[in-house]
Amino acid sequence: MNMLKVPLQIFRYKPGQTPGYDTFTVEIPATAHVIDAIDAVWTSHDHSLAFRRACHHSSCGSCAIRINGLEKLPCVTRVTDVWDGRSQVRLDPLRNFPIVSDLVVDMADFFRRMSAADMAMICEAEAFLPFTVDTFAVADLEPKLVELPENFSRFTRFEKCIECGICMSACPTMAADEKFLGPAGLAAIHQARKKTLDPVKVEHLLGLADGEHGVWRCHSAFECTEACPQAVDPAGKIMALRRELIARRFLKMLGK
């Protein structure tokens, strides 16, 4: 097995102590992902390192951090994609979240935003395969229509958004308005709005989007869409909400 010795520079903070960076060199397989390198630090160097992880395949969203300054999921980021073979790989917690310790941030406010949108994690599925976050990434496989199994009227599928918080960390507006609903919150409002025709729910959701901390706060930097590991395109969802809100205002002006 081809092994690499990779130097890591990891942000450290414990309550009451001064934040700083620690460096570790870990020996890992050349095919390892960054989460494996963090695991190696924890098991072989420093058991006090705090970090989050669960699924190891970009489904739970819990391991999100910044790698060399950019928001990523270390469970699906290969070490060789972020290491130049010489420099230290720098690992930081997400931005725009309170830091609990080391690489762990407090997700409470994030999930309050997601709860406000109340987006169901399950949606109806597209009736074709293969299905991927980026369909163009899959070579030589033509999408095919799928027949439903007996006794089924539809397939169900988890929403693309894995609530990792990466978009909130990448968003420049978040630093200026801590109550901004943020890319994930607004994208969730968009998805929840798409799923309902109930006028009370629609009013509630669009009211949130139109509020002081809603879509008009967005600076259209599109950093969220660039950083999102699941191709949710939060910025596109924010623009769609803006279009709907403007259309409603015009209709209201026209008395419709």
């Binding site: 309550p15 934040p19 950019l70 409470a108 395969l129 229509l145 439903l148 007996e150």
Partner: protein, 333 residues
């Protein structure tokens, strides 16, 4: 828990004559367990799953689904918190407190603060999964458990809608579980000494890809998104290899070992998690002379999102975002 399940059923497919021989036994087993399995035509199976091996000989549809393990756990924990439980994450059990033969509490270390703390309790339930043996050893008792690792390979796109299984006895790479935008091929099975130190054998990854192609030939065309291995806590049975061990669970009252105030629940699968909790709760009630019926079967779980919301104010200590001297994007900001 409808928000945490993709309920799209599953298919067991026969690829070889040996698989076909297994079919009747499988159907009889399903009937005995009241699982409504039914054979569907090969043509229909291929229309439902266009990337399925076109050479399949038979297909059986069963009720099945896929869940999100992390959010599933959070929903349990949020519900427990809502009912008064305190969840101490990032708190490692470093020792058990004992008075003679009795276990009277646990010593924990908070990974965030580094502080050690002794918690005195009426009874300790050891539900440490593959670490259950390690915890039990601190009380000087044994648990017949083998931490058993398995490799899984996640692909960079989803190639099936239903859970696909090989119609035969459990073996390596005999299942492809679709989830969101990926298909996950599982799994191998080998006993490990330390659940914290699992090295993924490259040949196991290769085996997943090779075996996965038997079910879906297009597996070879799709890039790998991730590979992972975690340890399951399997109950040891003398003379049975790790691959053959059942996923049953057991609850041990260590009074049988002469140690009071200490219970272990281990083995099992996520699908039996609630039943495991019921069994161990009943045992706890018996030992503490509490007369109460278990209500979890009929209790709807809270939203997993509540888990973090309920805890928000406990640990907050904002130190600001560390700088990004080398990031172009940081300069832009």
């Amino acid at each position: 828990m409808p928000d945490l399940l993709e309920l799209n059923d599953g298919l067991f497919v026969a690829i070889t004559e040996a698989d076909l021989v297994f079919k009747d036994r499988f159907l009889q087993g399903c009937a005995a367990c009241h699982v409504p399995a039914r054979e569907i035509s090969v043509e229909h199976a291929l229309a439902v799953e266009p990337f399925l091996n076109p050479k399949i000989l038979a297909a059986i549809q069963v009720p099945d689904g896929v869940f999100e393990p992390f959010r599933f756990c959070l929903a349990f924990l949020a519900t427990a918190q809502e009912n008064g439980a305190t969840i101490r994450t990032y708190s490692e059990v470093t020792d058990l407190l004992c008075a003679g033969k009795n276990v009277t509490g646990v010593r924990i270390r908070d990974q965030h603060t580094g502080k050690q703390e002794a918690l005195k309790v009426d009874l300790v339930v050891n539900a440490a999964g593959p670490w259950a043996g390690e915890i039990a050893a601190k009380a000087g008792v044994g648990v017949p458990e083998i931490p058993t690792a398995g490799v899984m390979v996640a692909l960079d796109c989803r190639l099936n809608n239903l859970v696909l299984n090989r119609l035969n006895k459990p073996s390596d790479g005999d299942i492809i579980v679709p989830q969101r935008a990926t298909s996950v091929i599982g799994t191998t099975s080998w006993a490990v000494e330390n659940p914290d130190l699992i090295t993924i054998p490259p040949e196991h990854v290769d085996r997943m890809i090779t075996q996965g192609q038997q079910l879906i030939p297009a597996v070879k065309k799709v890039p790998m998104r991730a590979k992972m291995a975690v340890a399951r806590p399997l109950i040891a049975r003398s003379g049975i290899a790790a691959r053959e061990l059942s996923r049953t669970f057991e609850c041990f009252d260590h009074e049988r070992d002469g140690t009071n105030g200490f219970v272990t629940i281990t083995g099992g699968k996520t699908t039996t998690a609630r039943a495991m909790a019921e069994k161990v709760s009943d045992m706890v009630c018996r030992k503490l002379d509490i007369s109460a019926e278990c209500r979890t079967r009929d209790t709807p779980l809270c939203s997993y999102r509540l888990f973090f919301q309920q805890r928000g104010s406990r640990n907050q200590s904002f130190v600001g975002a560390p700088g990004d001297r080398s990031s172009g994007r940081e300069c832009f900001r």
